[in-house]
Symmetry: C2
């Protein structure tokens, strides 16, 4: 490990492969190992040298996703300032990883019987703690449990990531759409709605 530079025939960058695979599997969750290798610009043999199999690749993606979530959690400084602002920062920091999170959130249904990566428990706990803090400070309503708000955050991130890829939401609106719906909901709060019908 002296130069860190690499031509197209040098040692494969594990991180580059993982991020390429994440980008591909985000769009097509059933992509073949061959397609993943092609997307990363390497051969299937080399891909298999770095990740023993598809399971290992998905597990590595899971670890990457957890790491990115924790990095976003760190960068958002959830303990500082109003909980609502902390949540806004969290969503903003999470946006680059939203596609990967969407893939893992829907793929996790496959790991039902197996042992669950306990990294998710750590991430879930930190997010739930933010919602709990907001409830205790009086900023968040208490009839929605922190566990549900955490799941709702995952769900909205996933929905908005897909909506962006399908062109239903503009990429620049990702953070606004996600965080505003999660925080304020669809109802207007400022004005009294005029009755209809």
């Amino acid at each position: 490990m002296s130069h860190m530079g690499y031509s197209r025939l040098m040692a494969v960058d594990r991180d580059h492969v993982l991020r390429t695979a994440a980008a591909l599997l985000t769009r097509k969750s059933t992509a073949t190992m061959d397609e993943v290798a092609k997307a990363a610009g390497i051969s299937r043999a080399t891909l298999h040298r770095h990740f023993a199999g598809r399971d290992a690749l998905v597990r590595a993606l899971e670890s990457l996703g957890i790491a990115e979530c924790e990095a976003a959690l760190d960068a958002a400084r959830l303990d500082e300032g109003p909980a609502a602002d902390a949540l806004r920062r969290l969503v903003r920091e999470t946006e680059p990883a939203a596609g990967l999170i969407a893939f893992l959130y829907t793929e996790n249904q496959l790991f039902e019987g197996d042992e669950r990566n306990d990294g998710w428990a750590r991430v879930d706990d930190r997010i739930a703690a933010l919602f709990r803090r907001g409830q205790e400070s009086g900023a968040f309503r208490i009839d929605l449990t922190p566990a549900w708000l955490t799941e709702a955050l995952y769900g909205l991130l996933t929905a908005c990531a897909w909506a962006v890829t399908e062109g239903r939401v503009a990429p620049k609106d990702f953070t606004h759409m996600t965080v505003e719906l999660l925080l304020g909901g669809a109802l207007r709060q400022d004005a009294s709605p005029r009755e209809e019908s």
Copy 2:
């Protein structure tokens, strides 16, 4: 077609098979045709007699899901009364089909290249029209587009359905958690939050 009654060895009820398959695939989206047949109490041969293949089964489930959505849309009477109340009725009517919707919402990623069942366009339009009506009446905020609110509804239904199956949300709270988050968001509106930190 005289009696419509059937013993356990008589003609298989297509609707029963579909609903059993929906319930199974909701929990395990990768279930094999053999597992689907076992769950429905029939043999794989019989299952294949009714649905030419897995694709045909998923398509039939898609049609069932669209039909249930349209039935819920009809029952919710979206044109009557305040839009917020109409949305509450819609979520309540949709709850029984939430698992199936969750399966289709995540499985639809697989039908990217193929032709899309235009039934979803009808459902999407009716839901988006509800949100638009709410915006025009002044009840819903206008910075969240109807298309995004529609996607968010799907996403929250899916997230809440999964949260219920995983025990993170009580089944009886399904409608409340979903509709209250979608309408009101996480923030308290009545009281001014006391500042923290």
